[in-house]
Amino acid sequence: MSWAIIQQSLPLFAKGFVLTLKLATLGIIGAIIVGLICSLIYYFKLPILTPIVTIYTEVARNTPLLIQLFFLYYAFPILGWRLTASQCGIIGLIFLGGSYMAAGFTGGFDGITKSQIEAGQAIGFTRWQLARYVILPQGLALSVPALAANVIFLIKETSIFTVIAIPELTNTALDLIGMYYHTNEYLFVLVIAYAIILIPLSLILTYLERRVRYGTFGH
């Protein structure tokens, strides 16, 4: 292992690091929005939209991100939509992540006890008030652990973006290895780079889970 080689590669890795963070952030925000909308449609069994959501989540969860990206990158242009590689990456992450987030939110909503909902009904809440004052606050709090796991999962999935040549962390490492053959150094930096993102994030999310649970349920 050579420090000099590692040092020389750092500016390139820094770029990849920033791009990984940027794509992951946009993808995760989009996935949370899509997931929340889908889970609400599913929870309230809205006509027409519920089967669409079911089909979407089944397709998204049961096909690999790799194939989804190929589809966006190679098949969409045939249909006339030309997207940049980064756009494909973000859309792919939202497509995949949205279905996972939907499942996470649904798990949270399903975890609300029936008696809490009945207590809301018993004081005359309308459907909307029940959602606003009982289902959303409690369901969201219950879904935080699943959402946190999804966030970590989706960040790691960005490594697959390398197949459509997005210069994120993994792509940077593989490119450098291809050019200079310093496999050990570049893989070492790659692992450290992911660890720098994921370990602190994981700790923060665990702390957040506890805070939210205590704030909502008091234990």
Binding site: E118, A119, G120, Q121, I123, G124, Q129, Y133, G218, H219
Partner: protein, 246 residues
């Protein structure tokens, strides 16, 4: 004679193939306290829940204050402001303070102003001895305290009928008395119309104007309270009272 506040006539309730309630009919006059007694599984709680729209029924008619209940969601939503219910599991909202729990109904559902509601709520809190807890969260309260708040939460809507579903069943014995005292005061001093499901026989005897004795989903007898506890008419009820060590 004035019309009853609540009339239940020939109510039938089943889950899929299981018949839970058979031909339930009774009247409840304003100011009257009716206790539902009977062995476990006799359908008491289910009957109570039918009267608040938490369970649908398949046949029969409910009439509340002259209005026939059609079981439409919108109608139940309106009626629940007049028919308060308190549950065994209290079910305060854990993410809201005591005061917020109580105010949600009057402010959000009934759209009344905070200035008019707050004095009423403070008075109710005072009556149940919980005035100092208005800013506490449910997690900071004991079971008995939670149940008192749940009662205030229901009363804050100014209901005309209160349903109590085994409200002391998950409380420690020393807290049971506090909660039952509050319910009795509600009957004595406020002439609140109530339907009470309970296993506390002493309490039932003190509070009941009428007793409805259920077994196997059928009304076995409806008897004025004092008479029921002295001389129940049916052998089922006699056995039931004997088994309750009463």
């Amino acid at each position: 004679m004035s019309t009853p506040l609540l009339t239940v006539s020939h109510l039938e309730k089943s889950y899929q193939k299981t018949h839970i309630l058979h031909d339930i009919s009774f009247d409840l006059d304003a100011g009257e306290v009716l206790t539902l007694l009977g062995p476990s599984g006799s359908g008491k709680s289910t009957l109570l829940r039918c009267l608040n729209g938490l369970e649908a029924f398949q046949a029969g008619t409910l009439t509340f204050a002259g209005e026939v209940i059609t079981q439409k969601a919108k109608q139940w939503q309106q009626l629940r402001q007049q028919i308060g219910m308190v549950f065994q599991s209290y079910d305060l909202f854990p993410n809201r303070t005591v005061l917020e729990n109580i105010l949600l109904g009057p402010l959000k559902v009934q759209k009344r102003s905070r200035e008019t509601v707050l004095p009423e709520v403070e008075k109710l809190l005072q009556q149940v001895g919980m005035r100092d807890y208005r800013d506490a969260y449910p997690r900071q309260l004991s079971g008995g305290q939670k149940q008192r708040i749940a009662i205030v939460r229901a009363l804050a809507l100014k209901p005309r009928l209160m349903l109590f579903d085994e409200v002391t069943a998950s409380l420690d014995p020393e807290m049971v008395r506090d909660v039952l005292t509050i319910i009795r005061q509600l009957a004595d001093t406020h002439q609140m119309t109530m339907l009470v499901v309970t296993h506390e026989m002493d309490f039932a005897q003190q509070i009941s104007d009428q007793v409805l004795f259920l077994a196997d989903g059928r009304i076995q007898e409806q008897t004025p309270g004092p008479q029921f506890f002295k001389r129940p008419q049916t052998s089922r009820a006699q056995n039931f009272l004997a088994s309750m060590d009463f």
